[in-house]
């Protein structure tokens, strides 16, 4: 069966009645207890999307609280240094919360309020989703519980401190590999037990169908801004445009691409960069690049790193935010339809990309988007001068200062 993307319909809505994209990705593989809460959320979300007052409220917070739009800036020094394509950055890390996670957090908190829920619970890897959810929940008067792997708590301390400062309870997860994957499992288990009082915020475009949709709906703000900015800057959509984005769960990349979905891929190419892990490790968090098999993880069918038996495999990445064995069903669909191209960058490549970009330009990307910059650095010299590369700089490096100091000897913003 050849898979096709329909034009004029958001990708998040192109699933069948079982919640699956292309008949094989996504769905709702959940315990019976969650069926009803998920159905309630589906109904509410579908109603709210059509509700003008809800959309107005969302836009109000995006403009006045997030401060939309985030800047699109040329990276002139880097472009001159590399030669070839013009490199630009969409500095999404200028957001409060210093990442793209704020869009999902705001939309979920608005939904939670309308659902009459008193508190939200969420998972986090790098702590960006957790920190931002804690911040937004506080603003909206909601209580907040964040599940985070013990390994991540250690390596992303600045974000843990921030979560606590915003009054969130940080629940350390000690099971399994003690990273994002276990945090998501633990958070879902918590929701199974507390689904009537609490609202679950899945931190990326993963999980049961409705959470993929809500997150994709939220982060789409990035490309809604970008398409306007690009038209302003170039007068039209350039003949050769490449949108480079790091892929962990896949929320920032989906949001970065969604408004450009209907363009021909020869004109607007999507490149997703997965975590290649340490150079010599085999635990790459790159299910799309490495052709992993389809499996079921956290309620959804997706390409996922696993062994022959179906036990989910461990990953190893310098970026806590990318340490995830699965990938959004949306990206599985984009891969199979060949609308997007996926590749990976190693820890070492991400570190040197960080070093180069932050020394030359007035931005300081975290190690997650540094993976995407690594790909830009690789391909830009080989491309024509009229090719435009835009990298989504979707996180700020401050959270990584300890790792960078340790690996590069010093941390300079």
């Amino acid at each position: 069966m050849s898979l096709k993307i329909k034009k004029g319909i958001p990708l998040i809505d192109q699933h069948d009645k079982n919640g699956m994209w292309g008949g094989k990705f996504g769905g709702n593989f959940v315990p019976e207890t969650l069926k009803k809460p998920i159905e309630d959320l589906e109904k509410l979300f579908s109603k709210l999307r059509k509700d003008k007052s809800f959309v107005k409220e969302r836009d109000y917070y995006f403009e006045n609280y997030v401060g939309a739009p985030t800047p699109l800036i040329p990276l002139n020094q880097l472009t001159d240094y590399l030669g070839g394509a013009q490199i630009w950055a969409k500095v999404v890390s200028e957001n409060p919360g210093t990442a793209h996670k704020i869009y999902n957090a705001i939309v979920h908190c608005l939904i939670a309020k309308r659902a009459g829920k008193k508190f939200v619970c969420g998972d986090t890897g790098a702590g960006m989703a957790g920190k931002t959810l804690a911040m937004v929940a506080k603003k909206f008067g909601l209580k907040c519980k964040i599940f985070m792997g013990v390994k991540d708590i250690k390596r992303q301390k600045p974000n843990v401190d921030a979560m606590k400062k915003f009054g969130a309870e940080v629940v350390p997860v000690t099971s399994g590999s003690q990273t994002l994957i276990d945090a998501v499992s633990e958070c879902m288990r918590y929701w199974v037990a507390n689904c009537l009082e609490s609202h679950l915020v899945v931190g990326s475009t993963v999980g049961p169908n409705i959470f993929v949709k809500i997150c994709g709906y939220s982060t789409s703000q990035i490309s809604r801004e970008l398409i306007v900015q690009i038209k302003d800057e170039f007068g039209k959509i350039p003949r050769r445009l490449k949108l480079l984005n790091v892929c962990g769960g896949g929320s920032s990349s989906y949001g970065f691409w969604s408004s450009f979905m209907d363009y021909d891929k020869k004109q607007v190419e999507f490149v997703g960069i997965e975590a290649g892990g340490p150079k010599k490790s085999k635990l790459h968090a790159a299910p799309l690049t490495n052709n992993s098999k389809i499996g079921i993880l956290h309620g959804a069918a997706q390409y996922v790193i696993q062994d022959k038996d179906g036990q989910i495999g461990l990953t190893d990445s310098i970026s806590a935010g990318l340490d995830y064995s699965g990938i959004s069903p949306l990206h599985c669909f984009l891969k199979d339809t060949k609308r997007a191209r996926y590749t990976s960058a190693t820890d070492e490549e991400a570190l040197s990309a960080f070093k180069l970009v932050s020394s030359m330009e007035n931005i300081s990307p975290s190690l997650e988007p540094a993976h995407a910059f690594a790909e830009a650095i690789k391909i830009a010299p080989k491309l024509s001068k009229d090719t435009i590369i835009v990298v989504n700089s979707c996180g700020d490096s401050l959270k990584d200062r300890d790792i960078i100091k340790q690996r590069l000897g010093s941390y300079v913003r």
Binding site: N18, G27, N28, F29, V30, P31, E32, T33, L34, K35, K36, P37, S175, G176, I181, D182, S185, M188, R189, V192, A193, N194, C195, L196, K293, G295, I296, L297, H298, G299, Q306, K308, D309, G310, Q311, I312
Partner: protein, 266 residues
Amino acid sequence: MKSKIQLAFEKCKKEKRPALISYTVASDPNQKKSLRILSSISPHVDLAEIGFPFSTPIGDGPDIQTSSFRAIKNGFKLRDIFKIIKEYNKINNPKPIILMGYYNMIYQYGENNFLKDCKKVGVSGIICVDLPWPENRIFAKKCKKKSINFIQLVAPTTTKNRIKKIIRESHDMVYYISMLSTTGGKLKVSPKKILENYNKIKKINPKKNYVIGFGITDKTIKSLKSADGLVVGSLLCKTITNSLKMRQNPVTKIGKVVYYLKKRII
């Protein structure tokens, strides 16, 4: 022909007591010992659930997680479960076996392949935690064709309309989740309330056998004994964990615990 599961419930009904159903994890703490554990509890139970451990469970509480991770760490492979059951069925008077686990394992093994091996070693039923109705329709039909019970779950959040549809498509046994919790949580609803809900569900089709699970321990089991069947899982997993910690033999210890559970409901 009546299924072994149906016959087990009928026997209990005749004896005017609920069926006692154990849940233990395959290869916990290792393949050999898990078989001995199964054999040691077998005389006291009417049905035995065996979990196949999964690395990322979204419905299990800490006790079953601990057992599962221990089994995986000790090298559990899905094919081992068939070896365990094959051996178990050689003992005197083995009880009907129900396999319980997460769908990805079945999916990777291949649904047909899995059922073929279940049939070969004499598995009587299957519970798949994250394959709810209607997603489980095709698989449930495949089970029925092989005369294996696909056991549907019903939760306190399940709507009445949905319950009716689920029961209509269920086989001999329906599993009622006592409360909103992962497995092994503290009973946060009174037994009276649980039985009230339980009886409402049973009324829809009294011919089926309904069991209650989640949060059942030696302390709560007696108060729920009017049900058709009661599942005890986390308590048994915890017993294994504690015996290992105290360097005791989990096989004799767990046999005693299950014997005592049985005494509470007869």
